[in-house]
């Protein structure tokens, strides 16, 4: 009895939330500072570079639309990796990571959708079309929302994490569809011009602010993600201690 309670199993050893919290406390200020710096540079570049001869000033929408679109996919990818961690290694931090990434992913997807719409009105003459890329991004948004709701619906966090993990992995098929939809169907949407095998086909004039903004958005994502993970760990810690307190109280009473 006493032996088991002392011996730390491999599982809980790996997943030491306390150690994670210490790490976060150390790197969080640096990450926040880096994010802020990137945004300052990125925004400066975004508004000082030339407009496109074809798209005019609206090309500036690209500097947020494209990074947000990338991050909406990256957020889901991070959730998928976490889901693997949950199912294969049963790592509690993976549960936390997947849960914390969902609202962030949803936020960036929303940005991509809205800025895309705002770009579409002047460019295509309509806010919204049911085209393959737009539809699949919309589906991604719905899936984020669904996963958030699913997580809330199950009151047992570890079970919630395992169930969501399965769905996250199944939903991952949507990511390649988003990425390659423009190649598979000829749609209104621009095809890939930055992330291509044969190098970017875009003027460096636009590429520079785009890349800086992409880095800034990514840094923001990770900063918020580890903050949210820390919150989630605290939340569970509070829940565990409350439960313990209730039990001890009822035992005495």
């Amino acid at each position: 009895m006493s032996e088991t309670s002392l011996s730390i199993t491999k599982f809980s050893d790996l997943a030491n939330p306390t150690r994670f919290l210490a790490l976060v406390a150390r790197i969080l200020p640096w990450m926040a500072a880096f994010t802020a710096l990137c945004f300052i540079v990125g925004l400066y570049l975004s508004f000082t570079t030339e407009g496109d001869y074809q798209q005019g000033e609206t090309v500036r929408i690209m500097y947020i639309h494209v990074p947000a679109a990338w991050l909406s996919m990256m957020g889901y990818t991070i959730m998928s990796l976490s889901a693997i961690g949950t199912l294969v290694w049963r790592h509690p931090l993976a549960d936390v990571s997947a849960k914390a990434a969902a609202p962030l992913g949803a936020a960036f997807t929303l940005i991509a959708l809205v800025t895309g719409s705002l770009w579409g009105k002047p460019m295509w003459g309509t806010w919204w079309v049911w085209d393959a890329r737009l539809t699949s991004v919309f589906i991604l948004f719905l899936m984020y929302l669904g996963l958030i709701a699913l997580n809330r619906a199950i009151d047992e966090p570890s079970k919630a994490a395992r169930v969501s993990a399965v769905l996250i992995l199944v939903g991952f098929v949507n990511i390649p569809i988003i990425k390659f939809s423009v190649d598979w169907w000829n749609t209104l949407h621009q095809s890939a011009s930055v992330l291509r095998l044969d190098g970017p086909a875009i003027d460096p004039e636009f590429l520079r602010p785009l890349l800086v903004m992409a880095v800034a958005f990514t840094a923001l994502f990770f900063t918020l993600h580890i903050m949210a993970m820390r919150n989630e760990i605290w939340r569970r810690r509070v829940a565990a201690q409350r439960r313990m307190a209730a039990r001890l109280a009822s035992r005495e009473g």
């Binding site: 500036r60 947020i64 936020a107 605290w234 810690r237 509070v238 201690q241």
Partner: protein, 55 residues
């Protein structure tokens, strides 16, 4: 600027969402920290913390 509405609209919207997300995350963290402090104050301590005290 041509299409200023769309350009600024995008930037304002993106700013709103990112700032909201940041504030929400931060506020959530503060609330959790307060709860933990309250629990600590009411005498419920973490196992490891207790162990350190040599309980």
């Amino acid at each position: 600027m041509t299409h200023a509405f769309y350009v600024y609209g995008s930037y304002v919207f993106a700013a709103l969402v990112t700032v909201a997300a940041t504030l929400w995350t931060w506020a959530d963290g503060r609330a959790r920290r307060k709860e933990l402090a309250a629990l600590e104050a009411s005498g419920i301590r973490r196992r490891s913390a207790r162990a350190k005290d040599g309980e």
